[in-house]
Subunit: 132 residues, 2 copies
């Protein structure tokens, strides 16, 4: 059931392209948010904090979708439907710092809240569409 | 149940900001696509073509979500969860030309396919979140 991200679009994960991540609310309705994102060669990775809407949604229902547009050309984009296959706090602090470096050029994530527990969500691509 | 788009974010609909629109597949899983979008003062309007995945999804299940980021500052964004309250072919050709003018500076939509039937979807905002 899993599908591979085409090599042709792998560059989108190197650019400062936001992912627009959709999760499902308790009643099955969708919720969408711009997020930082990267790719570990197999899974798309998101980083959020324990207790947030997205966190609760992905723990309840692993079905997600994410779209990335090329910042240099919005008509070149990747759409992925997939499934959260792993949720972990392990290395999540390092990961948010890495994303901060990528998106802000700041090696230490500057928006941390007191008591916040960072979490990594690994998404297995199941249906990939692309344009441009 | 309907909620108003804050005046403070109305400018996002004047800019060339894409909407990332989520619809629900038959099995309830989400699908997300970057789309052109505008606002008629009450409803968020999308334009697609009859028979596409998005079209079928919104006819089956009117629950959608859409996020718009400010092209000048991606950390300023609007997230709307809502419901498609009207689907119409009336004035849909004029509407896609208007969107073409807004996003491409081209008063005639250049991507029309032979036999394509354009459709407007009007979304009533039900839950609005914003950042920045």
């Amino acid at each position: 059931m899993s599908e591979v991200i085409p090599e042709k679009y792998a560059d989108l994960f190197e650019k400062q392209a936001f992912g627009n991540l959709t999760t499902l609310m308790k009643d099955g309705s969708p919720q969408v948010t711009p997020v930082w994102v990267d790719f570990d060669g197999k899974h798309i990775r998101i980083n959020s904090a324990k207790g947030r809407v997205k966190d609760k949604n992905m723990r309840r229902d692993p079905r997600v979708a994410i779209a990335l547009q090329d910042p240099a050309n919005p008509y070149r984009y990747l759409e992925v439907r997939g499934r959260v296959v792993e949720i972990t706090e392990k290395d999540a602090d390092d990961h948010i710092n890495k994303l901060s470096q990528k998106y802000l050029g700041n090696p230490v994530y500057p928006f941390r809240q007191p008591g916040e527990v960072r979490v990594i969500y690994k998404i297995e691509p199941q249906k990939v569409s692309s344009m441009g």
